[in-house]
Subunit: 237 residues, 6 copies
């Protein structure tokens, strides 16, 4: 099995870290590559960034299909370009939100999202509506760290932990998902801190959960429904 | 008041007809212009088309704000580019779906959508979820006419009427909205045919309802919330 | 276009102020009159008041239709008499709630209601259920000012501002609607105070939003659906 | 225990039949009287009728409290006057809808409503929204018999049976409630016919279920919540 | 009428108290017995206890039907064994949750649950989902008293009161249900304390509300729907 | 990785077939065993069967944990014993419903369930409520084949295909899940038939989707949340 991680930003700074993280959780027979788009915004922190980068993601997905990949993971919780790409490639493709939200739902009654900035808050609440899972959503809280500053792991872990604890104690969350795939290496340390505080709850790693779900789809020979995503021939576009 | 209709397709064929239609319903002191994007797809019939054209809509919206328009209507039921544009312009901007859905809800308990093709069906159902109005939605039915063939008014009216009647008799609809802004001059004739059949229900014209709602926003000095749509400065992008 | 504002209370104290407020937002070709009922309760602060005054509103609406008005706005957020009146007049008629709630939804993800007294709190929550928009509703908060004391604008603005800020900071609201049409001249000052506090959110004026929505309906030649509101001939009643 | 059935119509034709029906299901120590209002519409088939008769129901409820009744049942599935009356009397008062809907929910997953006329269809769907039980509601079907013709039991039973069967076979209903308290003596025969057809489902008698629920409230010394229904002193009205 | 209370725990300590409590609210012609299971767990504080005791409840229900009881109440808010028992007995059988939740909904807009331990919290939230009444549910709060310690009435009343007040003041509850049928003699004192604090809200006694609802079903000759609960012949099992 | 499939019926007839099917989709480094319970009902076709077999499933799960398995899949769409077992074992355990429903939601907007008998229909609808995913559920249809007859693959495939087509054409389904884990070797043939009929939709194999999801959990070192499923020490039970 050959999977590709598509980084939907014009920036390769996180590629190595994300790739290493994904490799930790896939089976020994899975080969993973990673590629970022080379146009558009260098990060995704708004609907504007999403709209700007989506066409480039779609193109990269189409190229990846031709290159023989079996499945594609767009490493973005807001699924930049995934919905349109599902119409034009005949291999499974997913973003981060659904894989993480459904896995949280598999393990608990309600999940909260810890995200980076206020500018994506309502956008991410929208996902819970769009996928019809509002009743499983406890809350969203913000750590106020832009993507570029997530590399300071110590501060990030501390802030994510503090907000996660509030989600559990004040909002009724039973599990935590992270609203940005730039949160690499954060989930497990936060999960440990929560356990130490008497709150043993799953904290999902956004990239690892997603790549594993993609592996599930490929092993089961499954792809997006052509009834929801009618195939679009783009040759004449 | 100076409003701009943005046609989010690389194609000016419908401009005159839509503009004339919009002018019928605005107050005498409202000036309306219409402009289409000049890149991207010549029609919108898929998520792929939406993604491709959105960045051009955003740019045109930014230019329109500088040109002094008081409000913008993107003539597309699927709101191509509207959500990102709301982050970068400081004037009200809307697409077709919400104006039509809310006005149908103002007048009746449940509405149905008559749309053009299967390829946008699930996408338009998504809007009812995303805006939290699923309980007011009766059904969606498809006439199977691509945008390019909508100009044959006689056939279009007949097909829209037939599907509307099914929505009312079989799905419980009390009003009808049209899922494509290419349906110009269709609503009123269909409403008359329904009335003749004993089913007096509002059938909303997609462009007219929207331009009127934009006028409402401008007269009330209202704009998208900066809490939902945090302002994005795009100068450095 | 000739519109009538129906004041559903046996009391003309607010007529001038409401009329002036409505005139600020309609187009130059719109003529507005205002009339109150002359029986029933002098204010509406309970379900009891609503039931008592509704029959008089219905009669006034019927008279207004005969007098040639094109549309009717019953200036009450709880829509005193509007639902029954929709069955007996053949012109568009609306109350305050839907116009305001839908316009808040047009501009933001979630709205809160600031209302006058505890006695109408659950009643107004009921509206969000009845119209199928619960998912767009953040909260309701009360200023504890009876209708008769709303004329002290300074105190009212201060209290509405404070509660609005709590709705935004604690309840997740992105916009504010006012739960009483007696809140005249309050919305814009509160909106300014919120903006100053870094919370740029729409605060809707209950009368202005409603009269504008009525204007929209009349210009689009739209009326309540006869499928939801079956016509009732009242001659023999 | 002394209960009063309030007939919310200016018409005593059904009094005896309803009273006899109620007496069949209450305990031996329960005394029941019945009284109709003597103003307003002689039947309830619309929102207009509801609005017209509600004030008279409220007055009769207030008188009944003074007369020493322990609880009040307004025999109307649309609960004419019940919500306002709950604010002004300090004894339990209920209409037909909630008692029947909740009892159907107690016994099955989804219920359907069989009602008299199209003019109350959307109104009764509204009750399922207002009380937050939409997910338990399968459908509503209409027999097209006005209240005045319900006395022809044979025809009524046949029509109610046929529509009930459709609710079960086509709409997924597991139980049936009757949308008009004029359906006296209909429920049990329909239930038998359904059982004979292999569909053993509860069919609730609207008056019997309601008077029993009132008895439950009185025996448990329960009344409407003063947090939802804040007490209104009407002495000065 | 002859009713049986089934105590779904291997423990008769609460039998007398529960029986006495139930007798207070039924009509003079109702005879009630009480029996506990004699295998399984001595209390129910988890899903594990529920699963362990359910088969014994089902057997006792089957025996009770043969013994001629007209209806069965399993005194457990989590309805231990009730759903399977509904398939195998032809008399009405209910647990505590639905009777209490629906009666709270009959009297108010939103209810909260006061329960014993964290271990049943999410389980009881599940009931509000399973019965499709999420919108009527305000919150659940825990007193942290295991079943065995509920007999200290003074402490229990104090803790239930404090949490109930929080439900009303912070969570928007208008009525209170108790999440454990071991709360005997608690409801009325708590209701009085709340009233003294200016919060006049129904507080339901879990056993009394349930036995009364069972009486309602028997008097109306009603039983669980055979469409939801298809009859299972257990002779060959 | 060492996984165990628990067959929650007193019957080993399907063990080999299910095991072989599961092995097709797991990675080369995964070892799978299969064990059935040896008490209780030989099949699960009702709530009664579920209640009867659940305690035996819990015990087998506890034993499996001691035996060193890394994760457990209870091969039952109705998740016999899974919820209680989650409280007492410290390894991930899942049933069939959630894995299949979430994977259908990952790939499409709405799924339908094809199930065996009317007796599990409402029970399986309950799962969509309990997990808060009602809006993603199109319908459930029944093939009327008891578990014991599922081995006639030709008939089963034909019937499942026919009902699946109705779900797509009449109910709006975009994907299909199978409501019984006895449907082995059915999904792929049905998916092919649907594709031939122009309806390219995912049809999920109940066992394969579930074992893969369990593998995902184990590889990500994830387990049920201890906030939803508080740990129960069963030593003293």
């Amino acid at each position: 099995m050959k999977l590709l991680i598509i980084v939907p930003i014009n920036n390769s700074a996180l590629n190595d870290e994300i790739l290493a993280s994904a490799k930790e959780v896939v089976a020994p027979d899975v080969k993973i590559d990673i590629k970022n788009i080379t146009k558009g915004s260098p990060f995704i922190q708004s609907r504007y960034d999403l709209a700007r980068n989506a066409p480039h993601v779609v193109k990269l997905a189409q190229k990846a299909e031709k290159d023989g990949y079996d499945g594609l993971f767009v490493t973005d919780m807001d699924m930049c370009g995934v919905e349109p790409a599902r119409e034009v490639v005949n291999i499974p493709i997913l973003g981060g939100f659904r894989a993480n939200a459904y896995t949280a739902m598999m393990l608990s009654q309600k999940f909260s999202i810890i995200t980076i900035l206020d500018s994506v808050k309502d956008l991410q609440i929208d996902h819970t509506r769009d996928f019809g899972i509002v009743n499983n959503f406890a809350s969203i809280r913000v750590v106020n760290i832009p993507v570029g500053k997530l590399s300071d792991k110590k501060i990030t872990i501390e802030k994510v932990y503090k907000e996660s604890l509030k989600c559990i104690e004040e909002d009724g969350a039973d599990s935590i998902i992270l609203g940005c795939t730039g949160f690499v290496g954060i989930a497990k340390p936060v999960q440990k801190l929560l356990k130490k505080a008497g709150k043993q709850a799953p904290v999902l790693d956004p990239n690892q959960t997603s790549i594993s779900y993609l592996e599930l789809l490929v092993r089961n020979n499954l792809m997006q429904s052509r009834l929801t995503y009618v195939y679009q021939d783009t040759k004449n576009h």
